[in-house]
């Protein structure tokens, strides 16, 4: 019980911290504004000059097809790293991404893709990814990717996602949703577990126009 309380304390504090990140100068309402500020101190360059699609190597999707990240080019992509056995944070990330999808105007829907990349090279084989997609009701715009541990680590480095495999096979990881422009440049990093759908929609809208 005590451990649970501590664990919750930690989780909450982490949420609070990631929240703080967005607006270092507005202490009373720490998420109210300041994304422009956050951008200046965000570790991932958001100028789009470091396209994720430069990473070479084949990934496998939920339909057992091989593909390179480069093939995601052409659409604006909403990207997150997760694992399917994850009970708390990842479903929320997926939920947030679905909310973005649902909020997009019909005219823009086909211009946007959604990509989930699994940390769990061992258990998240294509069949498991397929099951997960069905469970979550993820439609045609969604791509779920399985890669080897080295590939996953490389991608995490590029996105600055932190993760660590635990003894029980699960993962500690940071929670971010990334919005990539048509060339794979990271243009927005939505950190933490508070839905920021409005912000995401604005960015996506802007990137589609480009």
């Amino acid at each position: 019980m005590k451990n649970n309380i501590i664990a919750w304390g930690v989780i909450i504090s982490i949420m609070a911290l990631s929240c703080h990140k967005k607006s270092a100068f507005a202490p009373l309402s720490c998420c109210a504004k300041g994304d422009a500020i956050a951008a200046s101190s965000l570790p991932v360059p958001l100028d789009g000059n470091a396209p994720v699609y430069q990473l070479q190597g084949k990934w496998t999707d939920a339909h057992n097809r091989l593909l390179e990240l480069n093939e995601l080019k052409g659409k604006v992509q909403v990207v997150a790293m997760i694992f399917t056995h994850c009970g708390y944070a990842c479903p929320r990330l997926v939920q947030d991404m679905k909310a973005i999808e649902d909020s997009l105007p019909a005219a823009e829907k086909d211009n946007v893709g959604y990509v989930l990349i699994s940390f769990d090279s061992e258990r998240d084989v294509p069949a498991q990814l397929h099951r997960f997609a069905a469970q979550q009701g993820l439609g045609d715009h969604w791509v779920l990717l399985h890669g080897n541990p080295g590939q996953v680590r490389e991608l995490s480095m590029l996105l600055n996602v932190k993760y660590q495999k635990l003894d029980d096979g699960n993962f500690n990881h940071s929670n971010s949703i990334f919005i990539l422009d048509r060339n794979g440049g990271v243009r927005q990093s939505l950190d933490g577990l508070d839905p920021q759908t409005g912000l995401a929609i604005n960015t996506i809208h802007r990137l589609i126009q480009q």
Binding site: N3, I6, I14, L17, P43, P45, N49, A50, P51, V52, Q54, G150, R153, E154, S156, M157, L158, N160, V161, K162, Y163, Q164, L166, D167, N172, H173
Partner: protein, 252 residues
């Protein structure tokens, strides 16, 4: 003809897989983690693996760049290395200063280090492997065998203008050189979960850390704080003057 060449090339690439020259086998063992997860018994098992005896040198890295032009200073993508990449070199494939040929290569991003190890048929050591190998006591240190002293003394002096050559500090019980006292080193999973860059708990010093490797004392933990803080302040495309790497390899 072309396919024959390809075959030869393939042979060339795959041969290092069997080649452990310049490496030494680190026996399996246990590591007391610096950051202890509750519920863990305080021991991390480390499997046996091969580790480079010394850090990769400027000369060795030059061979890699020559063979892989996309890793030239002028050609590398900013996604994979920041603008200080290999800045100690005179040119794209020219070291220039002879004194640093056998010094560890620094100003290297994680991506570059990772690519080098892959090219060698190796990989970067994991943080646990590195910490385990680095925890072994010195066997030939000039200034005694106290690991913590070696580390803290290194911290105490500003970086020298010319980095000493590899093998110039001390050899440890596993037979590897310079694990401390020469450079910082990249590890494969440096971006694993960390204490948060806050680096201190609210309200004082809540770090109740597991002692360092091999039953080390309090001071060593202080030295360890530094390594963890350093890793935490890094990103994979960063290059830093005092940061290099060495490679590891699985036991077949």
């Amino acid at each position: 003809m072309r396919s024959l060449f390809a075959l030869l090339l393939l042979g060339f690439i795959s041969s290092p897989l069997q080649d452990h020259s310049g490496m030494i086998k680190i026996p399996a063992g246990e590591l007391r983690p610096f950051l202890l997860l509750a519920g863990q018994n305080g021991r991390i098992k480390v499997h046996s693996f091969y580790l480079d005896i010394h850090a990769v040198t400027n000369d060795e890295f030059l061979q890699f760049v020559k063979a892989n032009p996309r890793w030239k200073r002028s050609g590398v993508s900013r996604a994979f290395a920041d603008s200080n990449y290999l800045k100690q070199w005179a040119g794209d494939i020219e070291i220039g200063d002879d004194r640093i040929r056998n010094s560890p290569v620094t100003n290297i991003s994680w991506f570059a280090a990772n690519a080098y190890c892959k090219w060698k048929g190796k990989r970067l050591p994991t943080m646990d492997e590195w910490e385990y190998a680095a925890g072994a006591p010195p066997v030939n240190a000039k200034r005694g065998r106290d690991l913590s002293r070696i580390i803290l003394e290194w911290y105490d002096h500003p970086n020298p203008a010319v980095l000493p050559v590899v093998g110039s500090t001390y050899k440890n019980r596993f037979g590897v050189y310079d694990m401390h006292g020469l450079i910082w080193e990249w590890v494969e999973d440096f971006n694993s979960v960390m204490p948060g860059s806050e680096n201190r708990g609210p309200g004082g010093n809540p770090f109740v850390c597991g002692a360092g490797a091999l039953g080390t004392a309090n001071k060593e933990d202080y030295a360890a704080y530094m390594r963890y803080a350093f890793r935490e302040s890094l990103q994979a495309a960063y290059t830093v003057g005092g940061l290099g790497f060495r490679c590891a390899q699985d036991i077949e």
